[in-house]
Symmetry: C2
DNA sequence: GTATGTGCAAAGACTTTGCTTTGGA
DNA sequence: TCCAAAGCAAAGTCTTTGCACATAC
């Protein structure tokens, strides 16, 4: 049984066929799909799934902290499954030529950020860091 | 004559009354107003200004690189005038309790970011960094 | 059996655009 | 004068929601 499914059950969510499909899609998505993309992928498995259900499910999962919602500067939201061992925040480099999203992580960066916030008298609740760039041609 | 106005003229934009008002509003906004907010402020000076004009003007200014568009996690865009002496990128700390946006800047952070991107084989075009947090109560 | 969840379509929020009129250079 | 710009309203895009029906527990 998948981790996501397990946690949803724990949270008291009813495990409908649609939800199972959406969870499966999310777990198998290595990228950061939009709601539309999740819906398309889900429809390949069960064509009857509606976009409203995908929105509602992603909303619930985000509330439970099981997925993370991103903007990436675009006009629509994009999602990724939140990994447990991700207490060290990761961040995103968005390739402006291909749209590909590359994840990266840096302890040094995290420490730095906390120092800055502290200096301003703030406690960090969340932070996002996005780099937009393109591959260096050799 | 204001800097923004000068640059718009240089870019060949016609200086209509509406534009003058919008530029004035932007220059006098120390915060990071939304399109709606800019429009409201503009309407206090000239009630006939329409939201469409504000959108179009902000779009033009963003294209010219005279203003910067932000998301701040919300549902609508927010803008700020891009300062000339801002070759050192600044970033934003959003107070989740008050909505206030605090700007900060760190050379060390910038260097770090470039090192990371370089390590991934990427050239940075832009980057945004947002911290969400709240004041530490003493 | 009953509260939850789903699908559909309508409504919402924010933004863009087509068209006619206005006005700056 | 003439093309860019403004105003208005309609259309677009992404997201949320009301309602009737279906379903997990």
């Amino acid at each position: 049984m998948s981790k996501l499914l397990l946690k949803c059950a724990e949270a008291g969510l009813k495990m409908t066929d649609q939800r199972k499909v959406i969870l499966k899609v999310l777990e198998e998505s290595g990228d950061h799909p939009s709601v539309d993309t999740v819906c398309d992928r889900a429809k390949r498995i069960d064509a009857s799934i509606s976009i409203a259900t995908v929105y509602r499910t992603l909303g619930l999962l985000a509330e439970l902290g099981l997925v993370v919602k991103h903007d990436f500067g675009g006009t629509y939201a994009r999602f990724e499954v939140k990994e447990e061992h991700d207490h060290e925040h990761h961040h995103h480099l968005i390739d402006t030529e291909t749209g590909q999203v590359i994840e990266f992580q840096s302890d040094e960066l995290e420490q730095h950020i906390h120092k800055i916030a502290e200096g301003l008298g703030y406690k960090i609740i969340d932070h996002t860091f996005e780099i937009f760039g393109h591959k260096i041609k050799k």
